[in-house]
């Protein structure tokens, strides 16, 4: 079962654990220069975080920081694949 197919109740469990990871993402987003940001920007960061987490199977059992890094790596891999396939077509 991948993370995309988690039922809402299990997503709720993931989200209840996501606070420290989200704070870390926000800190990096502001480069550590600010302790606050517009709510819209925070929502975008949160959406990006969720998008990365959704790439990872077995989200419920592991460390979310590790899962996030795995999700990011998978997304980067997909981006590179897309670029390369685009380059081949040209």
């Amino acid at each position: 079962m991948d993370a995309l197919s988690l039922p809402p109740a299990q997503w709720q469990e993931v989200l209840s654990r996501v606070g420290p990871l989200f704070q870390d993402c926000l800190r990096r987003y502001t480069l550590g220069d600010s302790t606050s940001l517009p709510v819209e920007a925070a929502q975008q960061v949160f959406s990006a975080l969720c998008f990365a987490l959704r790439q990872v199977p077995q989200l419920l059992s592991g460390d979310l920081f590790v899962a996030y890094r795995q999700g990011q790596a998978l997304l980067r891999e997909k981006v590179v694949e897309c670029r390369l396939s685009g380059a081949t077509r040209c």
């Binding site: 502001t30 600010s34 302790t35």
Partner: protein
């Protein structure tokens, strides 16, 4: 899948208490009247100020930075320090949004302090009227203050 961004707990209570104690030590030294109860009220006001400015705090706020910046101001009356912090905190988040997040917390507080102790001569009304473009110019060193 409901999750409210405002549920983000920025600082653990113990860390917050430690920060407040440090601030209280400092304000005591300057003879300024501040208490834990006042800090709690300032904390509640911070949430309102953030909401009014449409911002989310994730780092515990700037209350301690404001205390450090303004505790030695010649324009602060001992009894009025908490009131000043209430207004400064609100103004900070307003300025932060009006300057489109171009300034860091530290830069903005430094500009506010220099203006308040300088040409504003302790007037919050004056400070609140300073255009955001000017705050940025001062922070970036494009405009010198007397």
């Amino acid at each position: 899948m409901e999750w409210n961004l405002s549920q983000l707990n920025a600082l653990p209570t113990a860390e917050k208490q430690r920060q407040w104690n440090k601030c209280l030590e400092l304000t005591d030294r300057y003879g300024l009247k501040l208490t834990h109860q006042r800090f709690e009220a300032l904390e509640a006001a911070r949430k309102q100020a953030l909401e009014a400015a449409g911002r989310l705090d994730f780092g515990g706020g700037v209350l301690d930075s404001l205390v450090y910046a303004f505790c030695d101001s010649p324009f602060v009356e001992p009894d009025a320090f908490a009131g000043l912090l209430f207004q400064m905190q609100e103004l900070f988040y307003t300025f932060k949004s009006e300057t489109l997040n171009a300034l860091t917390d530290e830069e903005l507080i430094s500009v506010m302090e220099r203006l308040f102790n300088g040409e504003a001569q302790g007037s919050l009304d004056y400070l609140s009227e300073v255009p955001p473009q000017r705050l940025v110019r001062i922070a970036l060193g494009k405009e010198a203050l007397d």
